[in-house]
């Protein structure tokens, strides 16, 4: 029982970070219908910014969010304006390819600049834990989780209650109709890509104190983000949050009750089952 509760708990906490990666991807997909294969590489950039601030100025990774998030937002805006914008109406395979190419360029540019060494970021709380009822609650994971909750809440509020947020949502629901309603669809796309990139960057920053950093770190996270997003329903923020946590828990429990080597496999099987039986995802509205 203790093993079950412990695994459930770490699954939920790690799932929080997965959720954040997924939210970034879901905003981008929702507004632009572009599957961003460079998402993991954006996360990697967030990690490097965080690492740089920590190594140079000794800024705490969680505090550095205040810098990482805006920097990545601007980077996302730039990428959207220069590259993604040109393929919004192109064939889907060309969009996929463009983002794959961008990912390769980003990870290899970072490799040339910073070598491919693993970077480790160690803070005073890195491997500490709180003991609650005999369970160990990882300190850094708990902090990351709380920050994720706060950011998701703020983002949700922004999308629901501000004019810009509503315009983004309208664009996500129906691009053409939104355009007819006088919404500046192009601007919304730029904003969405910026926001999505910032979310990936924040996720990178939150992972930094517990993970390691190297140029090719992004790949597995890209795949995970896809799973999270489809599980939750493409374009749904609440869905991505639930999807992230569901995947964290699935991984954690299947490592204990199936086999550690199969935890990713179980996640993909779950993913396919959901695709087949609830193609719109857990919370997505039907899009067919």
């Amino acid at each position: 029982m203790a093993i079950f509760l412990q695994s459930l708990l770490s699954g939920i906490l790690v799932g929080g970070v997965y959720a954040l990666i997924g939210i970034g991807l879901t905003i981008i997909f929702g507004v632009m219908r572009v599957i961003n294969f460079a998402h993991g590489d954006l996360l990697m950039l967030g990690m490097y910014v965080t690492w740089g601030l920590f190594a140079l100025f000794n800024i705490d990774p969680y505090l550095s969010l205040l810098i990482t998030a805006p920097v990545l937002f601007l980077w996302g805006v730039l990428l959207q304006k220069v590259f993604i914008n040109r393929v919004l109406n192109a064939l889907p395979q060309n969009q996929i390819l463009l983002t794959i190419g961008m990912g390769l360029v980003m990870s290899n540019a970072i490799m040339l600049a910073f070598t491919s060494d693993y970077r480790i970021l160690t803070t005073s709380y890195t491997s500490s834990a709180f003991q609650v009822f005999g369970l160990s609650v990882s300190q850094p994971l708990l902090y990351s989780f709380l920050i994720t909750v706060a950011i998701t809440g703020a983002l949700f509020w922004f999308l629901q209650n501000t004019d810009t947020g509503q315009a983004i949502r309208a664009t996500a629901q129906d691009r053409d109709a939104a355009q007819l309603m006088g919404i500046n669809v192009k601007r919304m796309s730029v904003l969405a890509f910026g926001l999505g990139t910032a979310m990936a960057g924040i996720a990178g920053a939150l992972l930094a104190p517990t993970y390691y950093i190297f140029p090719q770190v992004g790949g597995p996270f890209t795949l995970k983000a896809f799973v999270v997003v489809v599980l939750g329903g493409m374009g749904s923020i609440v869905g991505a949050t639930l999807g992230g946590i569901l995947i964290g828990v699935t991984e954690s429990l299947s490592a204990v009750y199936v086999a550690s080597g199969l935890k990713e496999l179980v996640v993909y099987v779950l993913f396919l089952l959901i695709l087949l039986f609830r193609p719109a995802g857990l919370l997505g509205k039907s899009r067919t």
Partner: protein, 369 residues
């Protein structure tokens, strides 16, 4: 030449000059080992042929039927594993093994197709990726069957004995001809797909699945047929790759890079055309080799050993070859979305327009020659 170009622009059926040109090109390529036995050059030809086979095979389902699978590593890997396991564990010679591996891939494609073809667009892409990942993870985990991450090392390939001759699979030349043969077969199959009724149904599905359905085409059936064809030849390419490299593990055989490479070949060359994957393979293999190892150009006799280009690439670009690969992909998607073949076609059209604008072109004989 112009008739060849016309046939690839608007292919309506069999054209004797184009067919002869095709045979002539194959004949010329087949003579290569008679003139140059430099192993690196032959190795690169083999890599190009295998890339053509993979790209053309993907093109059947991706280019003609419009189903952008990013999970073809599943078929490549199942081919590689079937052949290697049969050879290593049961001493079944690879020429039977390749046949069985194609059969195995077809069976797998039926399973994967019946799951993924219920989905469309981005959902299909993601489902195809996850199927390949499931197989990769399973191959890593179930060590009794696959030897897991330790991979399979090939000790030797038995010689192929026929009543007329014996082929020993040593060195590059046998692999040169087998992979050339495979590439020719897959290109021919693509030609057949483009010109047959079956191919028209594939293209109808690509253009508008619902309209095709309303015309009485069963989209699921035909998408599955396209995938089966595609899977079989992808598996054959995987088998040859494994035999040639002599070692496979789940990441080499089932890794997502393999799937992405096949898509890249087609898009860089020109998707949904016969020659697209051929052009894409040549561009991709040669370019990545030129950036990684510019000295192959010296071996091929294209550059002098002292050439400043070689020195420049070695000094400046050798660590950045993947970066340039990425840049190439971005540039192609942005500026040549129909691939190199698309660029070529636009250029030909422009020249023709210019020629047509001049009532008495002085270069008429040159163009005809």
């Amino acid at each position: 030449m112009s008739s060849l170009l016309r046939s690839l622009r608007t292919p309506r059926g069999f054209s004797a000059p184009a067919f002869l040109a095709y045979l002539a090109v194959i004949g010329l390529v087949a003579l290569v080992p008679q003139f140059s036995r430099k192993p690196l050059i032959l190795h690169m030809w083999i890599m190009v042929f295998l890339a053509i086979a993979q790209g053309s095979a993907w093109n059947i389902v991706g280019g003609y039927a419009g189903q952008y699978s990013v999970g073809h590593a599943a078929y490549f890997g199942i081919g590689a594993y079937t052949t290697m396991l049969l050879l290593e564990l049961h001493q079944i010679a690879p020429w039977y093994g390749i046949g069985l591996s194609m059969l195995n891939a077809v069976l797998l494609s039926v399973v994967i197709g019946s799951i993924t073809f219920r989905l469309r667009g981005p959902y299909f892409v993601l489902a195809s990726i996850s199927m390949a990942e499931i197989i990769r993870l399973a191959a890593l985990h179930f060590k009794d069957l696959t030897r897991g991450a330790e991979g399979i090392l090939l000790n030797g390939i038995p010689p192929l004995e026929t009543p007329w001759f014996t082929v020993k699979f040593l060195g590059k030349v046998p692999f040169f001809y087998t992979s050339l043969g495979l590439a020719v077969i897959v290109i021919s199959v693509t030609w057949f797909v483009q010109h047959s009724k079956l191919g028209y149904t594939f293209q109808a599905i690509r253009e508008d699945q619902d309209a095709a359905h309303s015309l009485g085409i069963n989209p699921t059936l035909h998408k599955n047929l396209a995938l089966m064809l595609s899977a079989a030849f992808t598996a054959a390419a995987g088998s040859l790759f494994a035999l040639y490299v002599r070692f496979i593990d789940p990441n080499i055989a089932f890794g997502i890079d393999v799937s992405v490479q096949m898509v890249l070949i087609c898009i860089i060359g020109g998707i949904g055309t016969i020659l697209g994957p051929v052009v894409g393979s040549v561009v991709l293999v040669l370019l990545s080799e030129s950036l990684r190892n510019p000295k192959w150009l010296v071996q091929a006799g294209l550059l002098a050993d002292s050439s400043p280009t070689v020195a420049f690439i070695e000094a400046r670009l050798s660590n950045a070859h993947v970066l340039f690969y990425g840049v190439l992909v971005v540039v192609v998607v942005l500026f040549a979305p129909e691939g190199f073949l698309g660029l070529l076609r636009t250029a030909v059209a422009r020249v023709k327009k210019r020629l047509a604008a001049k009532p008495t072109p002085p270069s008429q004989p040159a163009a005809a020659a």
